[in-house]
Amino acid sequence: MIKILFFAALRERLQCRELQLAITQPCQMQDVLKQLQQQSEKWQQVFSEQQLLCALNQQICSLNTLVHPGDELAFFPPVTGG
């Protein structure tokens, strides 16, 4: 299993703060993203419209980064703190 978190505008549009996804072997961030997009037409649309960053275990990462079972992933819009 992996834990996936969503924040800010993405969280609101998906109406989802967190979900679990079953993976049994390492894959790339982009494979996870593809699987999320296939959840529904709405998810497909939200992910295609929104500019996104992703993080693996609380570090910003690229879509090529390898994901292992037990990891914590997150997707979110470009940050606007400060």
Binding site: A8, I60, P77, T80, G81, G82
Partner: protein
Amino acid sequence: MDKPLIKITVQTEDFSLADEYQLLANTPGCGAVLTFSGLVRDDGSTQLQSLELEHYPGMTEQALTDIALLAVARFKVKAVTLIHRIGTLTPQQQIVLVGVASSHRREAFQAGEFIMDYLKTKAPLWKKQHLATGSDWVDAKHTDAECAKRWDLS
């Protein structure tokens, strides 16, 4: 060189710039103290009622610690304080504080600006503004990405 003093906080409560300044000014061998604070701006035209700050608990603290460590290593400063507020803020309230103590002024200015530029593009914090006419998420600024690039950070 003494071990650099790093203080990182993510909090809903307000902070006292005076207290944080005093702490920095007490750093041994320090000849320069810089503080930068970001406030909720009300430019009069937007009728901003409040600003809501969401963050990624855990990752925010980690990201702020990383940038403080980078600044210390790069600019050889003696102390860094970094406080970011979350939750609901109203115009004129304090959002963020960056404090730096160093031997000389140049490092303090550079470290302070480096930290703010990094924070604006890398720390997982998001602003939603509540106006009289409705609410919306603040868009990331292209200029912030440009500022971060000056330090080879993106």
